[in-house]
Each structure stands twice: as structure tokens, then as C-alpha cells.
């Protein structure tokens, strides 16, 4: 089995606590329920708008000063609005599930295999 992160990009920030996003939440929840029941979904969350982001860098190596930037790391036309994790036998299975998440038609979903970090 391979673990994939599904990064959900939209053409504008998503405000999950106000319309129209609130009207769509049932559709997202329904997807999460089905994918979790199928044993494929391994969690995921919606994200607040990038205006809520703080980008941090530790300058000069480990233990250095923590530098902060108000906002996202990169200004992009499309914004990351959420993510979820899929555990699937292969890419085709992951694609088949991701294609059922509303983000796939409301925006775009980038599927990336998770790289295991060996201790």
C-alpha cells in the first residue's frame, strides 16, 4: 500500500465558516465518510485562508533566529485550501478516490506519494 497526500488547490481562498463553502460542507463530509469506511482515507483537514498563514525560517542553521513572514511561503494564483491522506494499492486507486472529492471539480487536487523518513 502507498500513502498519498491529496493537496486541494482552489482559484481563491476558501472560507469554510461562511457561504458558499458552508453549503458544500455536507458533500465533503460525505466523501470523508465513504472513503474512511472503505479504509482508504487516513485523515485530512480544510485550511483557513492564506491570510492566516505565518511562514517561519530558522536562519543560520539549527538553533538560529526564528524569522517570521506574515503570509504564505509563495504568492501563487492558486491557493492550498485543504488536504487529505489516502492509502491505496496504487496510483489508479488513489486517483479514483480523489476524483470523487468536491475539490477535484471546484479546484484541483495534487496527489503526491508520501516519502517515508527512515529513523
Amino acid at each position: 500500500m502507498t500513502l498519498y497526500v491529496a493537496l486541494c488547490y482552489y482559484d481563491r481562498d476558501q472560507y469554510w465558516d461562511s457561504p458558499p463553502e458552508t453549503e458544500l460542507s455536507a458533500e465533503y463530509t460525505e466523501f470523508a465518510r465513504r472513503a474512511t469506511e472503505a479504509g482508504v482515507m487516513r485523515g485530512g483537514e480544510a485550511l483557513h485562508p492564506v491570510t492566516m498563514s505565518t511562514t517561519i525560517t530558522v536562519s543560520g542553521g539549527k538553533g538560529g533566529d526564528v524569522l517570521l513572514v506574515d503570509g504564505p511561503y509563495a504568492e501563487a494564483k492558486e491557493v492550498l485550501g485543504g488536504y487529505f491522506l489516502l492509502e491505496a494499492a496504487d496510483l489508479d486507486e488513489a486517483i479514483a478516490w480523489a476524483a470523487q472529492n468536491p475539490a477535484a471539480w471546484r479546484g484541483k487536487i495534487e496527489l503526491r506519494p508520501i516519502a517515508p523518513i527512515h529513523a
Binding site: T2, Y4, A89, D90, L91, D92, E93, I95, L111, R112, P113
Partner: protein, 420 residues
């Protein structure tokens, strides 16, 4: 063909089959590819002495399996993969090859392995460039420098492209599987598109000054033949092979003795390859028989190629049928280039006035030298010579390659002489 050529042909023919079985049993295309390369080198050393074995595929498979196991052992850190490799058994010692040959996959599972390999190489999660590179390397057994030359990129770039593609297959876990019946039409279309793209590049190279690339054309036909053989029930696979054979039959007549391009209208039809036309027509008949009355785009294009191949001359061509086929093709794929070719046929069928009207109705080809050249041809036939010269000038500034420019300059000279 000398002994080395025969040997290389056998390796090219059997290589993809060996690779297909290796890829499934090892589960790693990169390791399978390296193992096959090493087995090929072994064969090139051994076979001139021992002669080509009775069953070269079995010989290569056994040797490559052993090489693969060695490769996996060397990468001892990749413990999981080694376990996987041991699942299909340890490598045979050289004296055990005969027994191992008995254990080679039956023909039916080999066919499935080949299909898996093809659909993996042309998986839509890989970019078109990666699909083409992988198909030529993995399925056509073309060497990296040859692929790089064919697509005019540096060798290192092509090598990197291949490494990245194989690595994505392994890391993102692109499945090594035959698509389900519901997915098959779309996935098959992607595979055929890759072969068509190779053939297009061979027929009209995007760079350089060659009229055609005969070597690449042969590879496209090799791939199309492989697909038709593996999927004899898929009419579009058969049609693509028919189309490529029928088109390739004209390649040798597309240049004159001085290497200048010759258009279809002016070609010496006695130079066309009759054997290729006969074989292409036979594949087309099979495709028609299997398509249940619904012709796909490759079948229509093959019919078009056949209509030209069987015509005694350009004027005595069944233009009515050709216009009808372009109408059909245009109804499936709305494409201005199809409309342009249709307009050229309309000129021949109904005369330059009708042809000119059909050309002017096309939107989106303002920057195509072919459109301006076709306008020029109709204007010249209508006696509007200076307008024709203007269109040829426009075509010349837009022509992408030296080959097209030479052709257009020749026409411009003709038109100017008519202007007096």
C-alpha cells in the same frame, strides 16, 4: 544483413517481451531495464561464438533474471525489494538454463505482461514526452542517443527524462496493470496517440532539414505492429498500423534525386512501396470488419491514405470520397487542419472558386503556412496571380522549416514567371 544485424534484430524483437516479464516479476522497471541491458551485453558476447539459441527469449529471460537478482543483492539496503525478488525464485546457474527454459511463461501470460508494460509506459499520469521516451526505449528498444537525436534534445536531457519517468512509476506506484474494460477506450487512445506522435515526428520532423526520418518511421511501424498483434480485436489499433504502412509506402517518393521535397500531387507513383500498400490495405480491411460500422479517427485517416495510394494519379483521384472522409473526420475531431485538407480536396473536386471559399471559411489557421500556400494555389488557378504571390510571401515568413521554405520558394518562382 550480417550476423550482428540479425543478432540486434533478435534482441530488439525479444527485448520488450523479456522486459515485460521481468517488470512484472521484479516489480521495478528500472532494475528490469538494467538487468536486460546486462543480459544483452552477455548475449552480444556469447551468441557470435555459440550461435543464436533456439529460444533466445528464454535465454535472455533466464540471464536477465539472474542479473536482476545480482543488482538487487548489490543494493542490499533495499531489503524489501530483495524479498520481493526472492518470491519468484533465485537466479539459475548457467548450466541450469535449459531446465529454466521449461519454466518460461506461456504465450497468454506473456501477452498480458506486454499489455501491462505498454499501458504503464503510456499511463496518463506521465507527461506525453515521458510516454514517448519510455515507449521508444522500453517497447521499441531504441537506445537513448537515438531517441535524443529523434527529438532534438541533448542526450543527457533524454536520459534524465527516462530516469524521472521510471522513478515516478516506482515512487508514485503507477500500476503495472491492464486497464479495466470501462477504462480501456481512453487508455488505448493514449497508447495509440504516442505511436501516432512518433510517426508524425518521422513524417514531418519538427527540426533539421530532412523531409522524413526513415529510422523513426520504422520504429513507429514496429510499435504499431506490436499493438495490432497484441490487440487484434481493437479496430483502431489495426487502423493505426494500416495508416502508418500506407503513409510509409510514399516516403521514398517524397524527395527527388536532389533531396528536394515532392508533394503528393507531383510524386512518381511508380516509386511507391507496393508491398506496404498491400499490407496496409489488408490491415484496414480487418479493422473495418471489426469496427461494427463505426469508423474511428485512425480508420478514417487510413481510408484517406488508401484512397490516395490506390489512385493512378493526383487528378484521377476519388475526390468525392476524400471530401466525404474529411467531412466524417471533421465531425469526430473539430480540427482546422482537417478542414484545410478538406478544402484542398474540394478544390480538386469542385474547382478553385469552391476551394477558395472553403479555405476562407476556416478560422484559426491565419498563422499556418499551409493555409496561405493553399490560398495561393487557388488564387493562381483563378488567374489572380499577384494575390497568389502575396499569399506565398506570407507562407514563406510562417514556414517552420527549411524543407517547407524550399518548396514554397519553388512555387513563388513559378508564380512570378506567370506574372511576367
Amino acid at each position: 544483413m550480417d550476423a550482428t544485424d540479425t543478432l540486434v534484430e533478435v534482441l530488439k524483437g525479444e527485448g520488450p517481451r523479456v522486459l515485460a516479464t521481468l517488470a512484472r516479476t521484479i516489480g521495478d522497471l528500472a532494475v528490469a531495464e538494467d538487468a536486460l541491458s546486462e543480459a544483452t551485453i552477455t548475449a552480444l558476447h556469447a551468441w557470435p561464438r555459440t550461435g543464436i539459441p533456439d529460444n533466445p527469449r528464454a535465454w535472455l529471460t533466464v540471464v536477465a533474471r539472474r542479473k536482476a537478482l545480482d543488482l538487487l543483492r548489490r543494493e542490499s539496503a533495499r531489503a524489501a525489494k530483495e524479498t520481493a525478488a526472492f518470491r519468484w525464485g533465485t537466479g539459475a546457474a548457467p548450466d541450469q538454463i535449459d531446465e529454466a527454459i521449461e519454466a518460461i511463461e506461456p504465450e497468454s501470460s506473456l501477452r498480458d505482461d506486454m499489455l501491462r508494460l505498454i499501458f504503464t509506459c503510456c499511463h496518463p499520469a506521465l507527461g506525453r514526452e515521458a510516454q514517448v521516451a519510455l515507449s521508444l526505449r522500453t517497447l521499441a528498444r531504441l537506445e537513448v542517443p537515438a531517441i535524443a537525436r529523434a527529438f532534438l534534445v541533448p542526450e543527457a536531457t533524454m536520459a534524465k527524462r527516462l530516469v524521472r519517468a521510471r522513478s515516478k512509476i516506482a515512487t508514485a506506484r503507477i500500476p503495472y496493470a491492464i486497464p479495466s474494460d470501462t477504462e480501456l477506450p481512453g487508455r488505448l487512445a493514449a497508447v495509440l496517440a504516442v505511436v501516432y506522435l512518433v510517426a508524425t515526428e518521422a513524417h514531418a520532423p519538427t527540426g533539421g532539414d530532412a523531409v522524413a526520418r526513415v529510422d523513426l518511421e520504422a520504429e513507429a511501424i514496429r510499435l504499431a505492429r506490436l499493438l495490432a498483434g497484441l490487440m487484434p480485436g481493437e479496430p483502431e489499433a489495426l487502423s493505426l498500423l494500416a495508416l502508418l504502412l500506407l503513409t510509409s509506402a510514399r516516403t521514398c517518393a517524397r524527395t527527388d534525386v536532389d533531396g528536394n521535397p515532392v508533394t503528393l500531387a507531383d510524386q512518381d507513383r511508380t516509386r511507391w512501396n507496393r508491398a506496404a500498400i498491400t499490407e496496409g490495405s489488408a490491415w484496414l480491411s480487418q479493422a473495418v470488419a471489426r469496427s461494427g460500422g463505426v469508423a474511428g479517427p485512425y480508420q478514417i485517416q487510413a481510408h484517406l491514405a488508401a484512397a490516395h495510394s490506390t489512385a493512378p494519379s493526383w487528378p484521377v483521384t476519388d475526390w468525392d470520397r476524400i471530401v466525404g472522409l474529411y467531412d466524417l473526420l471533421g465531425s469526430i475531431t473539430a480540427n482546422p487542419v482537417v478542414a484545410l485538407n478538406r478544402a484542398v480536396a474540394v478544390t480538386e473536386r469542385d474547382g478553385p472558386e469552391a476551394g477558395l471559399a472553403a479555405l476562407k471559411a476556416i478560422v484559426g489557421l491565419e498563422y499556418s503556412h499551409l493555409w496561405h500556400a493553399a490560398l495561393a494555389d487557388n488564387l493562381r488557378r483563378l488567374g489572380r496571380t499577384s494575390e497568389a504571390a502575396g499569399e506565398l510571401h506570407a507562407a514563406l515568413t510562417l514556414a517552420p522549416g527549411e524543407v517547407e521554405r524550399r518548396l514554397l520558394q519553388g512555387r513563388l518562382r513559378t508564380v512570378r514567371s506567370e506574372l511576367g
